[in-house]
């Protein structure tokens, strides 16, 4: 096996192996566990940087293993895959750091970190899947490995959330399975190919392909939390904050959204999907989700719940971008994959900090917390502004391209959706910001776990990750046009997906 074949596998192994080792470690071997975690995360990042460089230079990284005749497990590090892989690996690194700080002293850490690593492995698999089958395999693995994280607290509420989570995701997985099998039956191996691979089928398959598309999107839409398949997400926020961060920003919802991207671009091919009239319903569905999620978020007092509804709304930007035919919207949607991740993880980190440091869970308890925890709150503010879509933050870039894409595709009503979403985002984030910065504190904190020490508002490990992601939120927006930005990378992908389109 050549190096180019092994590298994708190594990316998987670099989190799988630490995960398995951590399972077997006894609870009190804290140092060793952290070491394995961090070594794995760092190693993965290094590997990914190496691959990134290679992909830029035009190298191909493909690993192929035949499971059954006509059924291959394929890992392929193409440009789109690397977008998601890099995001996940980078955020995993931070989340691990954060989780080490967050889970300090809580029980069952070995189990937690073990599943945590498995979850990331599954995400990597989803990202690097080279065909629909591989994608499905890891999509389901992701469901399984996140369940223990969702129910980690073991409370009745967590259990209920876990149950709902499972019933949604497994149901979605079943639909996805049917669609996948059907597609394999029609077209043989469904490799992810730029520009799609189904256009070669004759027109007599149109009806079937439409049904399959519906099945696939319904399956993926569960994880991507498209309304009305979103019910699990607000409940799943009972999980510990690092898990929520991972769930909402990196792994689960993104896997769904990423799957939609793959199906539309690399399975059907965007032009073919357009010719089958599949994109419009998807766009409508995404738009409804965007508005509905934001509306629901308005009514939540629980901070994490509000953030969860916000995720529902924001993730659908990706689906929306995919569903609008044209390179600009593609860029907008795909870059939001990264941008939403960074912004939302910041917000969840901050929510976790409030809960862990001061015992604040509800928005109504947040009065004046900006004075007590200025750094965390600053990061939160940046995340929130980014969500609203203000420049120079990441969210603005996504919205800009989405809007331009909508115009390009002669769908100006999308602008209205974006507009409404921005306004609603402002409506549910700005009151929070007002409370934290401008409302004076009148009573004691609900439960101050981590006292103020030497002007440090909370533990280092809790503080650094949100700050890093907040800075990243600013940087990816501010330097969006530079060569190293996600935007530029996404443009590269869009170039390849729209073969006719020359920049």
């Amino acid at each position: 096996m050549s190096l180019n074949e092994t590298l994708p596998l190594l990316v998987l192994v670099s989190s799988l192996l630490p995960g398995l080792i951590i399972f077997t470690l006894p609870e009190e071997r804290r140092g060793l566990r952290n070491l394995f975690n961090m070594v794995g995360a760092t190693l993965k990042l290094l590997l990914i940087f190496y691959i990134l460089r290679g992909v830029m230079l035009g190298e191909e990284y493909i690993f192929r293993h035949t499971i059954l005749p006509g059924l291959d497990l394929v890992f392929k590090a193409d440009a789109l895959a690397m977008l998601f892989v890099t995001l996940s690996a980078a955020l995993w690194f931070l989340t691990t750091l954060y989780a080490i700080g967050y889970m300090e002293g809580s029980p069952h850490r070995s189990r937690f970190f073990g599943f945590f690593s498995l979850c990331v492995t599954a995400t990597m698999g989803v990202a690097m899947a080279g065909n629909l089958f591989t994608f499905f395999v890891f999509y389901e693995l992701l469901t399984l490995s996140t369940y223990p994280l969702v129910v980690h607290r073991g409370t009745e509420q967590a259990m209920r959330a876990g149950q709902v989570y499972l019933s949604y995701t497994l149901g979605g997985g079943a639909l996805l399975l049917i669609g996948t099998v059907w597609l394999y039956g029609l077209a043989g191996q469904v490799e992810f190919t730029q520009g799609g691979m189904l256009a070669a089928l004759g027109p007599e398959y149109t009806g079937q392909l439409q049904v399959i598309f519906f099945l696939l999107i319904a399956g993926l839409g569960v994880k991507a939390a498209l309304v009305p398949l979103h019910g699990w997400l607000p409940l799943a926020m009972v999980a510990p904050a690092p898990v929520s961060a991972l769930l909402h920003a990196v792994a689960v919802v993104k896997a769904g959204a990423f799957g939609i991207v793959r199906v539309v671009y690399d399975v059907y091919g965007v032009e073919f999907a357009q010719s089958l009239h599949l994109l419009m319903p998807l766009a409508v569905m995404a738009s409804v989700t965007i508005i509905w999620g934001s509306l629901c978020a308005l009514f939540q007092d629980d901070l994490k719940r509000r953030l969860a509804y916000s995720t529902i709304s924001q993730v659908s930007y990706i689906a929306l971008g995919v569903a609008i035919f044209g390179p600009m919207a593609t860029i907008g949607g795909m870059v939001h994959l990264v941008h939403q991740g960074i912004m939302k993880i910041t917000l969840f980190f901050c929510a976790g900090n409030y809960a862990e440091t001061l015992g604040i869970h509800k928005i109504s308890e947040m009065d004046g917390v900006g004075r007590r925890m200025p750094w965390t709150t600053a990061a939160f503010t940046i995340g929130a502004f980014g969500m609203i879509g203000l420049p120079p933050l990441a969210g603005f870039i996504s919205k800009w391209y989405l809007g331009l894409g909508a115009l390009e595709a002669q769908m100006p009503w999308v602008i209205a959706v974006l507009l409404a979403s921005s306004l609603l985002n402002a409506a549910y984030f700005l009151p929070v910001l007002y409370r934290v910065w401008f409302q004076p504190r009148t009573e004691a904190w609900p439960g101050e776990h981590i006292p103020m020490q030497n002007g440090r508002e909370t533990a280092w490990l809790l503080l650094v990750p949100p700050l890093v992601t907040a800075v990243a939120t600013v940087l990816v927006g501010l330097f969006a046009a530079s060569a190293m930005s996600p935007l530029n990378w996404v443009k590269l992908i869009a170039d390849r997906e729209y073969l006719y389109w020359l920049p």
Partner: protein, 559 residues
């Protein structure tokens, strides 16, 4: 001098001010933060541009004639306001927070003047808008919070309209760089985009119905903040129009007429609503609405009459310079009067910008109004006829407003700690007196100094004096319009609505509980299935069925 210093220095200083370790140094340097901007406006080469391809969507900053003028008076106002604030807030324990917001707003406002592409314009505009929220709510009392809330809602609405308008414009123009963008878009005539942009920037510029935040927010902010809000930031909206509307490129009749009409309405509405105010700063805010109305009117005229734009643009520039400085001087003066009482010299200091606003002879106001009138001359009917009698009437109104302002000026207790307020105020006063003369066209200067010019500037003043005397004599105070006018009625309506509609609660409901019970009964079937005779019977039945199924095919004729 690098342009980035102009924008980044204030932000850096804001950081220094926020960090406790460097706060002292930051506070010391903060008042001077606008200085590089001011200097840059003076020394920058002609048609300066700076492309930063890696920034945002690819950015361009630059300085054309309009930008230079706006940058100049904006920076000047911020500089004086900064120095003023240093002394004004000397006793405020939370002044570092104010200064931080002040510096961020400053950076945004200067950036607006320099931005030459849609994205960075939007960026700097947003920075300015949102940072200014901190200025509005700084006092922290209920009034400030209400004003802040209204400000924020309107600002967010404005930002949303803006981004939609900019997107549509960029979509039509296929570029987001100025000035190509406005020019290219003018070919396409995206009317919706223009309407959205007008409204979006109109929030900042106080276009009627979008003005509601203005009379609430400008007065409650600390005085130096009010000065820049009303003097400089309100002009950012105007600059937005100048940058993105197809002024001088194409005729947009419907929108032009609407804008013109709205501007005219604002000019009078501001006067009427301002006259009945009880607070001097609220009154000044309404005066700003009125004055911005005149500039709005000019923009509308530009849309109606592209070929007059070459005259209108300098006129608008001059008017903004004049109004910015005069309004700034008035607001700062209010603060001075609070500290020093209604001294003779204080009143004299206030009289100068007041006269200027009213357009008295020899003042910047006379210059600005004359040049504006000249530029508006070529409008199609019925506008010239309408404007011929409305503009002097507006001048009379402004004069009345100023008289009322002078009467309302607070007579606060004497405090000696305000000495630091004076130098910056004096600088602005000087600027009010002098700068417009340098900016105005030669022909305008000649016209103002000519006899007919003096007369046309002076007779409204006489009317004002007569009316004021009459009103004083009759002791007339007028009906009360609450600050925020329309908003107050809207709020009442909303409260009623809230009472009527029940809050919608998101509650999960147990669906089909009966079905669950029913399902559990099915389990009973398993017990019945355990009966040997039943299973045996089933077995025999399946046996027969299978045998039949096998026989059917084995012995059917086809096989």
């Amino acid at each position: 001098m690098n342009l980035s210093i102009v924008l980044i220095l204030p932000l850096l200083l804001a950081g220094l001010v926020l960090l406790p370790a460097t706060r002292r140094m930051g506070m010391l340097l903060a008042p001077w933060a606008a200085l590089p901007g001011l200097a840059f406006s003076l020394v920058a080469p002609d048609a300066y541009t700076l492309d930063i391809p890696w920034l945002l969507l690819g950015s361009r900053f630059g300085l054309d004639e309009t930008g230079r003028l706006f940058l100049f008076f904006t920076a000047l106002l911020w500089l004086t306001a900064g120095l003023y604030a240093h002394s004004y807030l000397a006793k405020d324990p939370r002044r570092h927070i104010f200064i931080a917001f002040f510096l961020a707003t400053l950076s945004g406002n200067l950036g607006v003047c320099l931005a030459m592409d849609a994205a960075s314009f939007y960026l700097t505009f947003a920075v300015m808008t949102f940072a200014a929220y901190g200025l509005v709510v700084h006092e922290g009392d209920a009034e400030a919070r209400r004003a802040g809330r209204v400000y924020l809602i309107m600002a967010v609405l404005g930002e949303a309209l803006l981004i939609a308008g900019l997107l549509l414009l960029a979509g039509a123009a296929q570029t987001h760089f100025l000035p190509e963008m406005a020019r290219a878009a003018a070919m396409e005539m995206p009317n919706l985009a223009y309407a959205l942009l007008f409204l979006g920037f109109g929030v900042k510029a106080g276009v009627p119905l979008l003005h509601m935040w203005l009379p609430l927010a400008h007065p409650v902010a600390p005085t130096p903040a009010s000065a820049v809000l009303s003097g400089a930031m309100i002009k950012a909206g105007l600059l937005g129009w100048l940058r993105f509307l197809p002024l001088g490129e194409a005729t947009v009749p419907a929108l032009g007429a609407v804008i013109l009409g709205l501007g005219l309405f604002a000019a009078f509405f501001g006067v009427v609503a301002g006259l009945v105010q009880r607070q001097p700063k609220t009154l000044l805010a309404y005066s700003s609405i009125s004055q911005m109305g005149l500039m709005t009117l000019a923009v509308g005229a530009g849309l109606l009459l592209p070929k007059a734009w070459s005259l209108l643009l300098p006129a608008i520039g001059l008017y903004s310079l004049h109004h910015g400085l005069a309004k700034g001087a008035l607001f700062l003066g209010v603060g001075v009067a609070q500290r020093f009482g209604r001294n003779g010299w204080v009143m004299a200091g206030l009289l100068l910008p007041a006269l200027a606003l009213a357009g008295a002879p020899f003042t910047s106001g006379a210059l600005a109004k004359t040049q504006l009138k000249a530029a508006l001359a070529g409008l199609p009917t019925p506008w010239p006829e309408l404007l011929a009698w409305t503009l002097p009437l507006a001048a009379v109104g402004t004069g009345m407003l100023m008289v009322r302002f002078l009467l309302l000026t607070p007579s606060g207790g004497k405090q000696d700690d305000g000495i630091g307020l004076l130098p910056p105020w004096l600088v602005v006063l000087t600027a009010v007196a002098a700068l417009a003369w340098m900016q105005a066209d030669d022909s305008t200067v000649v016209a103002v100094l000519s006899g007919s010019g003096l007369v046309s500037a002076a007779w409204p003043m006489l009317v004002v004096a007569l009316l004021a005397y009459a009103a004083w004599w009759r002791g007339w105070r007028g009906p009360a319009i609450p600050p925020g006018d329309v908003l107050v009625w809207l709020e009442r309506a909303a409260a009623t609505l809230r009472r009527v509609s029940l809050p919608y609660s998101f509650r999960s409901k147990r669906v089909f509980p009966a079905a669950l019970v029913y399902i559990s009964r099915i389990c009973h079937l398993e017990k019945i299935l355990c009966n040997w005779p039943l299973v045996g019977g089933l077995w025999l039945f399946v046996l027969v069925a299978l045998a039949c199924a096998l026989l059917l095919v084995a012995h059917s004729p086809t096989v």
